[in-house]
């Protein structure tokens, strides 16, 4: 409970209940937000954080509960009403329209208009300003959003929230797609906003971020508030984790057993290049080895993975698996040979949203379990269930539509797909994006177990500590070139950052 009173509460959500057909996502959540604070919302995957902020954004209607703004009860029957009450939201899943330009996206739904004509010049001018403020003057207002990277899209989504002149800005895992430099930009903007008395509701699974910018914390577990208005500075991490998970979780990277020198090379990439993105990338991953790719967003990391996988056609160079060369630009060949990729953007690249969880998990194996073209759905379900249990998927019901899973649980389902498939080489692009603390260590342990069983793993992550902690060997990528390669334990985060920055400054 709050003991001191001022400043007065800006926003209160009381006893919010939200039921979906067959699920009670929120079961009485309270949230108090003061003006000029960064209020962090913590909770495991599926705890109900996104659902709560969707209620606040008018995207869902609460089954029960009240919302107060400045002490007065308000109704938010639709998203426009939320904006009218001064609540702007950045959703967890990027919600920008690919076919429109940056400026059009930002002013979508509240176009600057006079007598019915949109004022493009004014919109362009303001967009340019917003982009400068967010540290991205290079993103042109006229650029089509579909051509931006995931991080670029996140910036656009952020700019849109800023353009609304909101009093409360809700950010659902905004840092998940950003690298450390971008996160700094984001935090600078957040601090500016807070100084102006704007309240930020901030959701993230990265506790160190919350330590950096948060003021107070509300913890949600299984749709209920279990810790309210905790002071960021005085609440120890293990207490937070205990509140979130209900148990003590060790947040550590698994042991590195060390790869024997005579372990065979599984994946051999030689002189690979992709026009305009990267060139001359050579790397090899041995059986049982985890290799991490570190670099800034936009340095070409994801493209390297996708090209190895055949999802992009290489301009030159070769990819070989166990000494056999793979056909250039053919995913089918790569998958057939035993390579799996868990892509960066799960929603657009990974999931068939209207299909049940188990079919998403078996998307690359249903043909294998089928007999003469006839599906064996029982085998599919069993395989999916097994992984759902192993990865602690919540809820573990594999028959529900994957759309209804929380973000972190969707990510687990993506991993489950390749676990069912059983790969020789696993390419992981941001494997823990949006995954909670507890499940993170589980995923690390799992990746290590796979490696120990002989899989070659290539990991890309924006979180440098993750790359350094998980991988045996690290390649640092800058501007599409490998600028450093070496054991992960002989280099630290600052050195990596320096190399990355130097490369992009040069």
């Amino acid at each position: 409970m709050v003991t001191e009173d001022p400043p007065a509460l800006l926003l209160q959500m009381q006893g919010i209940v939200k039921t979906f057909p067959g699920a009670r996502a929120l079961d009485g959540v309270d949230l108090d937000v003061r003006p000029g604070e960064v209020h962090c919302l913590l909770g495991q995957n599926g705890a109900g954080k996104s659902t709560l902020i969707k209620v606040l954004a008018g995207a869902h209607q609460p089954t029960e509960g009240t919302i107060l703004m400045d002490g007065e009860k308000i109704e938010i029957p639709h998203p426009v009403a939320a904006l009218e009450h001064g609540v702007a939201t950045m959703y967890q899943e990027l919600d920008v329209v690919d076919g429109l330009t940056v400026a059009e996206n930002i002013y979508l739904g509240h176009e600057l208009a006079s007598v019915g004509f949109t004022q493009r010049r004014e919109a362009t001018r303001r967009t340019r300003k917003l982009m400068e403020r967010l540290g991205h003057p290079e993103i042109s207002p006229h650029r089509e959003v579909g051509t931006l990277s995931a991080a670029g899209k996140q910036v656009v989504s952020m700019a849109r929230a800023l353009s609304r002149d909101a009093r409360v800005i809700v950010m659902d895992e905004p840092s998940a797609v950003l690298d450390s430099g971008e996160v700094d930009n984001l935090f600078r903007v957040v601090e500016e906003l807070v100084e102006q008395g704007i309240a930020i509701v901030y959701i993230s699974h990265r506790l160190e971020e919350i330590r950096r910018i948060g003021h107070r914390i509300t913890v949600i577990k299984d749709g209920r508030t279990v810790g309210r208005n905790l002071d960021v500075a005085s609440t120890p991490t293990d207490e937070l984790i205990k509140l979130m998970t209900g148990k003590d979780v060790e947040y550590a990277f698994p042991e590195r057993p060390g790869v024997p020198d005579d372990a065979p090379v599984r994946l051999e990439v030689a002189d690979l290049s992709l026009a305009g993105v990267f060139s001359g990338v050579s790397l090899s991953v041995r059986a049982g080895e985890i290799v991490g790719l570190a670099g800034l967003v936009g340095s070409g990391r994801s493209e390297i993975l996708e090209t190895i996988y055949g999802a992009r056609r290489a301009a030159g160079g070769t990819v070989a698996l166990d000494g056999r060369r793979l056909r250039n630009g053919s995913v089918t060949a790569a998958v057939g040979a035993g390579i799996g990729l868990a892509p960066e953007e799960r929603k657009s690249q990974g999931l068939v949203l209207d299909e049940p969880v188990y079919r998403n998990i078996t998307l690359s194996t249903f043909a294998r379990t089928a007999r003469a073209g006839w599906l064996d759905e029982r085998a599919e379900r069993d395989a999916a269930k097994e992984q759902a249990v192993a990865l602690d998927l919540r809820p573990p019901d594999v028959d529900r539509s994957i759309r209804t899973l929380s973000g972190g649980n969707q990510q687990k389902a993506m991993l489950a797909r390749w676990l069912v498939h059983g790969c020789e080489v696993l390419l992981l692009d941001e494997p823990t994006r949006g995954v909670d603390v507890g499940a993170r260590s589980e995923i690390y342990a799992l990746v290590r177990r796979l490696a120990d069983a002989g899989t070659a793993v290539l990991v890309v992550s924006s979180e440098i500590p993750e790359v350094l902690g998980l991988a045996d060997r690290v390649l640092v990528i800058s501007e599409g070139e490998v600028v450093h390669a070496g054991p992960a334990d002989s280099i630290d985060e600052h050195q990596v950052l320096d190399m990355v920055m130097e490369g992009s400054a040069a």
Binding site: T19, F20, P21, G22, A23, R24, D27, A59, H60, Q61, D222, G223, Y309, A311, V331, T332, A334, V335, G336, L341, P343, S348, Q349, G350, L351, V352, L353, D354, E355, R359, L363, S364, F366, A367, A370, G373, W374, L375, R394, P395, P396, D397, V398, D399, R400, S401, R403, R417
Partner: protein, 343 residues
């Protein structure tokens, strides 16, 4: 129906019960449940038919008439269901029906059929349909031409080719073995209705129980995810359009049997009727969800509607208006019933 049920218990409490519950649904009541609005519409139409037409409507003979009417377009609609489930469209099916009837009834084909049996005509019709479909598929998948445009081109071209071959004349079929095989009844039901039933059953299994169907849904639901999971999306699209063409070939055979002649005007505007049946049936135009049961009911609704109008000697223009209203009404109803989003 299962999507609609509101339970206040947390899902985690009874995951098994719910899973079992849902599995029970997917076979029978799932399909019928989701198509509840459609069944209601069909029953309502039958009621109107009975009230206005009396025994002329509610007779076994008339039932067979309705079913025959629904058959050829029904078969087209089954093929179209697959195409639309991938998020595509096939505007060429009507023309391809015309082309296949013409090609299968040229003098040359009929002469061969006299020699070697009806199989020659059927083979010819099916091959023509399949070939046209495969061409569509290749142009769309590998030529990266939008399905709407590619199949629009085929619509025009196939009709033109049919006119060229037939010289704008109707070609009477005079092959006894063909007539014996495909005309008349089998256990009281017209043979072409049996063909429809067979195609529908095969289509249902294909969509719901085979890897082909799973790929179709995945490609329509999220082509990029399907591709990255290792599905050969382009090749699959070729197969799906090939399938739709094959369905048009089968419909061609049915029309040869029903009318006893091949003509370049056969199947005019049928692509629209097929699309209407599919969409009214509940298959998403955006792709990712398809239902054969819905399509069959959709085809039956339109056939029944025509029949009710004919029985009452009503103007065909009025009938067209009614069809339009039904399309919009059924789609609105579908959205109400099956909207998964609750807010």
């Amino acid at each position: 129906m299962s999507e609609q049920q509101t339970s206040s218990r947390p899902a985690a409490d009874t995951p098994k019960a719910r899973a079992d519950h849902r599995r029970g649904h997917s076979i029978f009541s799932g399909a019928v449940g989701r198509n509840l609005g459609l069944v209601a519409a069909l029953l309502l139409l039958c009621l109107v038919g009975f009230l206005t037409g009396g025994d002329r409507f509610a007779s076994l003979t008339n039932l067979m008439i309705i079913l025959s009417l629904a058959s050829a377009i029904g078969v087209l609609s089954i093929g179209m269901t697959f195409v639309i489930t991938t998020g595509g469209i096939d505007l060429s099916v009507g023309s391809v029906v015309g082309l296949s009837t013409v090609w299968a009834s040229t003098l040359a084909t009929q002469n061969l059929a006299d020699q070697y049996g009806w199989i020659v005509m059927v083979g010819c019709a099916l091959l023509v349909g399949l070939a046209a479909g495969l061409v569509n598929g290749v142009v769309i998948a590998y030529g990266n031409v939008v399905a709407f445009i590619a199949t629009l081109a085929m619509l025009v071209a196939a009709r033109g080719l049919a006119e060229l071959i037939a010289n704008r004349r109707t070609q009477i079929v005079d092959v006894p073995s063909f007539d014996n095989t495909f005309q008349g009844n089998l256990v009281g039901v017209p043979k072409i209705v049996w063909i429809f039933v067979l195609v529908a059953v095969v289509g249902w299994f294909l969509l719901n129980r085979t890897t082909f169907g799973r790929r179709t849904v995945a490609v329509g639901g999220n082509p990029e995810a399907a591709r990255l999971a290792g599905i050969n999306v382009k090749r699959h699209l070729v197969y799906v359009y090939g399938l739709s063409g094959l369905a048009a070939g089968i419909a061609g055979v049915m029309m040869l049997a029903r009318t006893g002649a091949g003509s370049s005007t056969t199947g005019m505007l049928w692509e629209l009727e097929a699309i209407a049946a599919v969409v009214v049936g509940g298959t998403l135009l955006a792709g990712g969800r398809g239902t054969i049961v819905g399509t069959v009911i959709g085809a039956l609704i339109f056939a029944t509607l025509s029949n009710v109008f004919i029985i009452n000697n009503l103007d065909s223009s009025v009938q067209a208006i009614a069809k339009g209203a039904i399309i919009v009404g059924a789609v609105l109803l579908q959205q109400r019933i099956s909207a998964p989003r609750s807010s």
